[in-house]
């Protein structure tokens, strides 16, 4: 907040008053955002935390305030396979999305010319339809009698003879649904790269591949990090793809939270599951960012 710096510096009174007024304005402008976050993020989060520590009363669905840390143990011991599956599925989906999105973003940034804007709109266009409908559509695309499945079956590439209701379908759905979150940051990072740098690499006898490896890829890393995070985080909490495209063997942690809330009315364990998920993700992100060696996120 540059506007606040002069106040601390102790400027002349007359100037300081104006600066202070400006500072007050800045705070006032922040107020709606803070109020919004406080009301709709902090309050529910605190409430969720206390719910996660409630203890049972003996009546199903009714809980009393307490410090039942055992809820967290239950959540982990009962649902660790779903946690593991969530992170494996969303991890693969993220890599898949990166592999698909990078060439596309590269093309849009460097080669698309006047079609750039149109292509970007097309990337975002599927978002005009509801998330659920888009996921539902994959049931038709991957149907047993559908083109994709029957082609792959004719080539004997599918061990189970189907795609729908297998982990492949869940991962495909996750990649697809979060793909724009990968493409847009990648595009933003690539688009800022000065094409003359690539030319310079060529002038210095770098092969196109070396030029990419030494110039483009490092400069696009902030986009890669942002894109992978924006894909991985929502994907690991998602339960709709697992519900609509998976089989009973493919449930993710989101399913566990949903079932505990609505079917078992076990609010404490559901809250504990949410908190564990919320704790694991930043931990993974922290390690990832440290290893990726960049904090210059887009």
């Amino acid at each position: 907040m540059p506007a606040l710096a002069p106040v601390a510096g102790g400027a002349k009174v007359s100037v300081g008053a104006g600066v202070q007024r400006r500072a007050r304005t800045a705070y006032l402008l922040l107020l709606p955002g803070i109020a919004w976050l406080g009301l709709f993020f902090v309050v529910p989060l605190v409430s969720l935390f206390f719910t996660s520590l409630q203890s049972p009363t003996g009546t199903p669905g009714v809980y009393q305030p307490g410090f039942e840390a055992a809820n967290y143990l239950t959540a982990i011991s009962d649902y660790w396979p779903q946690f593991v599956k969530s992170f494996i599925y969303s991890g693969i989906a993220t890599v898949l999305a990166l592999v698909i999105a990078y060439p596309l973003a590269y093309f849009i940034a460097f080669k698309a010319g006047k079609w750039r804007a149109l292509l970007l709109v097309l990337v975002v266009a599927p978002f005009f339809a509801s998330f659920l409908l888009r996921t539902y559509a994959w049931r038709t695309i991957l149907a047993d009698e559908g083109f994709i499945t029957s082609t792959l079956n004719a080539l004997h590439l599918l061990p189970e003879g189907r795609i729908l209701n297998t982990p492949i379908a869940v991962i495909t759905g996750l990649s697809y649904n979060f793909l724009p979150f990968m493409i847009l940051p990648l595009y933003a990072a690539l688009e800022r790269i000065d094409p003359r740098l690539i030319e310079a690499a060529g002038d210095l006898y770098a092969s196109p591949f070396t030029g990419f490896r030494k110039v483009v890829w490092p400069l696009s890393l902030p986009g890669v990090v942002a894109g992978t995070l924006l894909t991985f985080i929502p994907a690991s909490g998602d339960y709709i793809n697992a519900t609509l495209l998976g089989s009973p063997q493919d449930r993710m942690v989101g399913n566990a939270i949903q079932i505990n809330f609505l079917q078992f009315r076990d609010y404490p364990v559901a809250s504990a599951l949410s908190f564990i998920l919320m704790a694991i993700i930043p931990a993974l992100v922290f390690v990832y960012i440290r290893r990726a060696g960049t904090e210059d996120l887009v």
Binding site: G61, V62, Y63, P65, S247, D250, I259, F261
Partner: protein, 411 residues
């Protein structure tokens, strides 16, 4: 259906507009938005849990004043597309006739999509005795049982409801409400077997399923689905094992779970689905299902429906008056009206589920003789003898069994 449908969703929508709508049929489509509602409910749930926790056990609700005499009005919450609708005007013909005859207007809302979700929505108010602005709610047996056990429903005044005597005898002594003091059935349906005739012929060499063991045939591996409604799936499985789903022991339930678990682990079962199994049947991804009779009946000639010879499940949705309702007398008048066989037949002709009203079959013959002979609207003795109503569970048992069931199906 001669042509190949565009997509299951489009086919479902087309089928609905063609053949009239049924509640479960709509849900198959509404399921799409339902998941979103579920997500929203998750958010709301935490607050609900918090409130409930502070009060502990449910307090005794204060007696509610009946405003029926001064307010000729009531609110009725039902499932979507579960009453006759004039497709052109969107009006409810039988409700309009009721208003014309009694002067009582009915605010009819279709806001129950899921028993658990609806309960989660109104539970805090029921516990603290606040109005939920609904004078009739329609809930499936087990949820109705929970309401009655928890004191969230009031006794009906049968003296003002002469038509209530038209309730078919086999509905009267249900375990959760002996003598039907609190509830009256709205419609029923079966949890039964359904299949794609052509594909079944191809796979098993027969176009009829008569037992659950046929579903476990390795030739159907990965081509069957079960219902995510525990009572329907577990009831059919337990009945096939020789247990009585309306009166079983823990061990018998465990034996059923073991069989379910084995079929899930082996990959025999493709998915345990809610309302959207019909779409999978229509695309041919799935050959056989445990499903609901109304859905299967509406799929038409190419699909078969039948109770397994070891027995299927009969579920009923029931009208209840909430303890906090303020128009009890008006609500009873509506219930009484829908137990007039002619009115009941009119609604049944539209929704195509099982009518619990004695005399509706005869009245139906005047409307559509084919429907009057339909097993899935007016089942005969043999069908009813071969179906079970799931045992009433205490809330503790309900949760414990739900946990076992969900664990077996992947949670």
């Amino acid at each position: 259906m001669g042509k190949r449908p565009l997509s299951p969703e489009a086919a479902a929508v087309l089928a609905m507009s063609r053949s009239g709508l049924s509640r479960r049929r709509l849900l198959q489509v509404a399921g799409i938005t339902g998941v979103a509602a579920t997500a929203a409910a998750c958010g709301a749930g935490s607050g609900g849990g918090g409130t409930a926790s502070s009060s502990g056990a449910a307090p005794e609700p204060a007696p509610v004043q009946d405003l029926s005499d001064s307010e000729k009005f009531l609110n009725w919450a039902n499932w979507p597309l579960y009453i006759d609708v004039n497709d052109e005007t969107g009006a409810y013909p039988t409700l309009e006739a009721f208003t014309a005859a009694t002067g009582i207007t009915v605010n009819y809302t279709e806001d129950i999509n899921d028993n658990n979700e609806f309960f989660a929505k109104v539970r805090a108010q029921l516990e603290s005795g606040q109005s939920i602005d609904r004078d009739i709610v329609v809930l499936t047996d087990w949820m109705a049982a929970l309401w009655i056990q928890s004191g969230f429903a009031v006794k009906l005044d049968k003296s003002s409801m002469p038509n209530a005597a038209n309730l078919l005898p086999n509905y009267i002594d249900v375990s959760f409400d002996p003598g039907r003091e609190y509830s009256l059935p709205w419609f029923s349906g079966f949890g039964c077997l359904g299949w794609n005739k052509a594909l079944l012929q191809e796979a098993l060499g027969t176009d009829t399923l008569t037992s659950l063991s046929q579903m476990w045939d390795p030739k159907l591996k990965g081509r069957i689905t079960l219902l995510s409604e525990m009572r329907d799936t577990m009831g059919v499985i337990m009945a096939a094992q020789g247990a009585d789903p309306s009166n079983f022991t823990d061990d018998q339930f465990q034996a059923g779970i073991a069989e379910l678990q084995a079929q899930i682990d082996s990959g025999q079962v493709r998915q345990v689905a809610g309302n959207d199994y019909v779409a999978a049947l229509e695309t041919g991804d799935v050959i056989a299902v445990i499903g609901w009779s109304g859905d299967m009946f509406q799929l038409g000639e190419d699909f078969g429906v039948g109770l397994p010879d070891t027995g299927g499940m009969l579920w009923t949705d029931n009208m209840l008056i909430p303890s906090v309702a303020t128009h009890k007398k008006n609500a009873e008048a509506v219930m009484n009206y829908y137990y007039d066989p002619k009115v009941a037949a009119e609604v049944a002709a539209y929704v195509q589920y099982v009518s619990p009203v004695n005399g509706a079959k005869e009245a139906m013959a005047a409307i559509d003789p084919a429907l009057a002979d339909n097993q899935w609207i007016f089942p005969n003795e043999a069908t009813l003898d071969n179906s079970y109503v799931f045992m009433t569970l205490t809330p503790e048992q309900d949760i414990a069994y739900q946990r076992e069931f969900q664990k077996a199906i992947g949670m």
